[in-house]
């Protein structure tokens, strides 16, 4: 497959590993911010290839995991109403709100459709005009432009039955939040390539300057990730802290101005509650007043339940990289992909689910 298989090549991988091993390594902690990177690290067993000096710490970059339960409750409340259709991305369906998840709401009669693009929700709204179609719009800077475009299309077509719950979150404030926390010390960061393809990487330069930490904008294939680790480790051992772009085939310093413009025209920056992390200033996107007639929260006023998360669930510490999933007493016992307690157990990008799928039985693999 063009531009994919090349980045999963065993020989190329071994060359990068050799390079990493040739560095005068010391113990270091490198955080991969994005959940897709965590998933790839687990799927390809990359930690098995790395020297023990390099510890990978999993970051908060799974949009499904950080969507707070109150938003899921609001979505389910609307989905259960007569003549409502909730359009959601697939992996959101298993995340528990304060009561149930969307799969169970579906079994209770809610009309919930899995979509692959926000334009699928527009298509549903066009064909089922007698019903209110609510797009559950989650995601980082990567999905925000497409979701914003859906509102622009609905505006242009005067679609009166299309609405959105906007639960977008922004990556740069979350990375800063983690770096400024006293709980964790990091030596390097793999910045999320897909987010940077939209935002550019000036924000990474700010972070590497302010926190004196090397940042490597990194892609998602095994070779990308290993190269990202090499470039980061190289800086750590030589005491440098610049931003380097490993993912040049997709990311420029300026990013995608058109996508940035679309986001700005439809959304405005707001404070946002992150599941597991708490409230982070300027880290969310709400629908602007000009487009408030599409804002399902304002138009329908869905019920918001207050909820306390399971106090034994350490999702917050996992999302900040302070702890690993296996350190949670619920992991693999009370909390599993069939019955997730914390959101990182739900999406395949969530660190707990990735551990459960690929590393739970790590002991088995030794000596074989």
């Amino acid at each position: 497959m063009k531009f994919i298989e090349e980045f999963r090549d065993k020989v190329e991988t071994e060359i990068v590993i050799e390079r990493i091993l040739s560095l005068p390594l010391k113990r270091m902690r490198i955080m991969e911010v994005c959940g897709s990177q965590t998933h790839a690290i687990m799927k390809y067993g990359l930690e098995e290839l790395l020297p023990e000096e390099i510890m990978l710490v999993h970051g908060p970059g799974c949009p499904v995991c950080v969507t707070p339960p109150e938003f899921i409750d609001m979505a389910i409340d609307l989905a259960m109403r007569k003549d409502f259709i909730l359009a959601s991305y697939g992996d959101m369906l298993r995340v528990p709100g304060s009561g149930k998840d969307m799969l169970k709401a579906k079994a209770d009669g809610a009309d919930i459709r899995i979509i692959h693009s926000p334009l699928d929700a527009i298509r549903i709204a066009r064909s089922e005009r007698q019903k209110n179609v609510v797009l559950f719009a989650i995601g980082f800077e990567t999905t925000a432009p497409a979701n914003a475009s859906a509102i622009l299309v609905a505006e242009k077509e005067q679609l009166k039955n299309f609405f959105m719950i906007s639960c977008h979150v922004l990556i740069p404030p979350a990375v800063e939040y983690i770096l400024s926390s006293d709980n964790i010390s990091l030596d390097g960061i793999l910045a999320p390539g897909h987010v940077c393809s939209i935002t550019g990487y000036k924000w990474c330069e700010n972070i590497s300057g302010r926190y004196k930490i090397p940042v490597t904008v990194t892609g998602f294939e095994p070779l990308d990730i290993l190269q990202g680790i090499y470039r980061t480790a190289e800086q750590v051992v030589s005491g440098r802290y610049k931003t380097i772009n490993q993912y040049k085939r997709a990311v420029t310093r300026e990013g995608n101005p058109k996508a940035q413009e679309v986001i700005k025209s439809v959304f405005e920056i707001s404070e946002r509650n992150w599941r597991g992390l708490g409230s982070i200033p300027c880290s969310g996107l709400n629908i602007r007043e000009d487009y408030s007639r599409f804002d399902a929260v304002k138009v329908f006023n869905p019920e918001v339940k207050t909820t306390n998360e399971n106090k034994n669930c350490i999702a917050g510490e996992i999302l900040q990289g302070v702890k690993k999933p296996a350190e949670c007493i619920l992991f693999g016992k009370t909390c599993s992909p069939e019955n997730p307690v914390g959101a990182p157990m739900v999406s395949s990008e969530g660190a707990c689910a990735a551990y459960f799928m690929y590393k739970r039985n790590k002991g088995i693999l030794h000596g074989q």
């Binding site: 497959m1 999963r8 065993k10 991988t13 687990m42 390809y44 067993g45 990359l46 098995e48 290839l49 949009p63 499904v64 991305y89 697939g90 992996d91 959101m92 298993r94 528990p96 304060s98 009561g99 149930k100 799969l103 579906k106 079994a107 209770d108 899995i114 979509i115 692959h116 693009s117 699928d120 549903i124 989650i138 980082f140 999905t143 897909h194 095994p222 909820t307 306390n308 998360e309 399971n310 106090k311 034994n312 007493i329 619920l330 016992k333 009370t334 599993s336 992909p337 069939e338 019955n339 307690v341 395949s348 990008e349 459960f356 799928m357 590393k359 739970r360 039985n361 693999l365 074989q368």
Partner: protein, 351 residues
């Protein structure tokens, strides 16, 4: 162990699982397994059912017979490469073949939703006839029910089948033994991706065709040449990974497979990349897994590859004694990981 035994507190996120059936219970993953064990096996408990095979094999007089049933609810009814009709015939024929039987007779039950097009029904029944002729089976009994509009989804078909098992053939997951080799008859995930791509709500076009096909003729020949085949299984729901997990559990062995030996067509792989699916868990309808003693594997591979629907067959792994119940994948990078059974369906990832 209950949650409060571990934590000393009750979980404030109320879990209402197991109260109602969710789609995940039909996925072929852990939830399906749980449903079958806790509800069906508990009540129907008998030696045949407890074999956990694709069908039951029993003795009648001097003959060994295989009996199986399957219900088809595919949506959409027509998809690239086939329709629910040929799927319903091929699926049951394959289940009989997986018992080591020569398929003989089929039944067909139809649940039709009020308002369904007669023209479409004719097309589907015609496909069933063509598939039955191709497989050398006759559909000798049937049933028709019509349900009110909204009480069914256009058309559901159930087929049951009966076949004759030749002397000396004993196919059972219990026979899997360390040292056995695992053969996969071709590339994977075609059916699941073709059906998904054909769904109305998925604006997603691929050139992928379902692999729906009957493989009984390959199996007939294979069993003539290699009588000591231990297990045959078609990796339908739950895909290759789901099927191997079931086999590792029921055979109490571990299964090692080599990622680079499992073929996935480029277009199928691309679709999986876009959707965030692992092809190892996507359904197939014209493929089978054969587990047999290592000494017979090369000969078996030659036989399977001599057929049109088996020419991409490959030895993908082997059976070992340690860590019974586990399936372990050697990745293309030389690392290892456990291939777990999924709990429910794979859900498309957001990014």
């Amino acid at each position: 162990m209950a949650s409060d035994e571990i934590t000393g507190i009750s979980c404030p996120v109320p879990q209402v699982s197991n109260e109602k059936i969710t789609l995940g219970h039909g996925s072929g993953g852990l939830l399906t397994h749980e449903l079958i064990t806790k509800i069906f096996l508990k009540e129907f408990d008998n030696d045949y059912l407890n074999m956990s095979h694709d069908g039951a094999v029993f003795i009648s007089g001097t003959q060994k017979l295989a009996f199986t049933t399957d219900t088809f609810v595919v949506n959409p009814l027509f998809f690239p490469g086939g329709n629910i009709g040929d799927l319903a015939v091929n699926g049951t024929v394959n289940d009989l073949a997986m018992c080591g039987a020569v398929p003989m007779f089929l039944s067909a039950g139809f649940i039709i939703e009020e308002g369904f097009s007669q023209e479409d029904l004719k097309k589907i029944v015609h496909s069933m006839k063509a598939a039955a002729v191709n497989c050398g089976v006759s559909i000798i009994t049937g049933d028709t029910k019509v349900v009110e509009k909204g009480k069914g989804d256009k058309l559901f078909i159930n087929t049951s089948g009966i076949g004759l098992v030749q002397d000396g053939i004993d196919i059972s997951p219990k026979r899997i033994a360390p040292g056995d080799k695992i053969i996969l008859s071709g590339s994977i995930a075609d059916h699941g991706i073709a059906v998904l791509a054909a769904r109305e709500n998925l604006n997603f076009r691929t050139e992928v065709h379902s692999d729906t096909a009957a493989v009984h003729d390959i199996i007939n020949k294979l069993l003539q040449v290699c009588k000591d085949v231990h297990v045959l299984r078609d990796p339908t729901r739950g895909g290759v990974a789901g099927t191997l997990n079931e086999l590792a559990r029921s055979g109490q062995v571990s299964i090692f497979i080599d990622e680079v030996r499992v073929k996935v067509k480029e277009e199928v792989n691309s679709a999986c990349e876009i959707l965030g699916f692992d092809p190892l868990y996507v359904a197939n309808e014209g493929k089978f897994i054969c587990i047999l003693p290592g000494s017979e594997a090369e000969e078996a591979l030659k036989v399977i590859r001599s057929f049109k629907y088996g020419n991409d067959a490959e030895i993908i792994g082997d059976v070992r004694a340690e860590n019974p119940g586990r399936v372990i994948l050697h990745t293309r990078l030389g690392t290892k990981r456990v291939l777990e059974m999924l709990s429910g369906d794979q859900l498309p990832r957001i990014c």
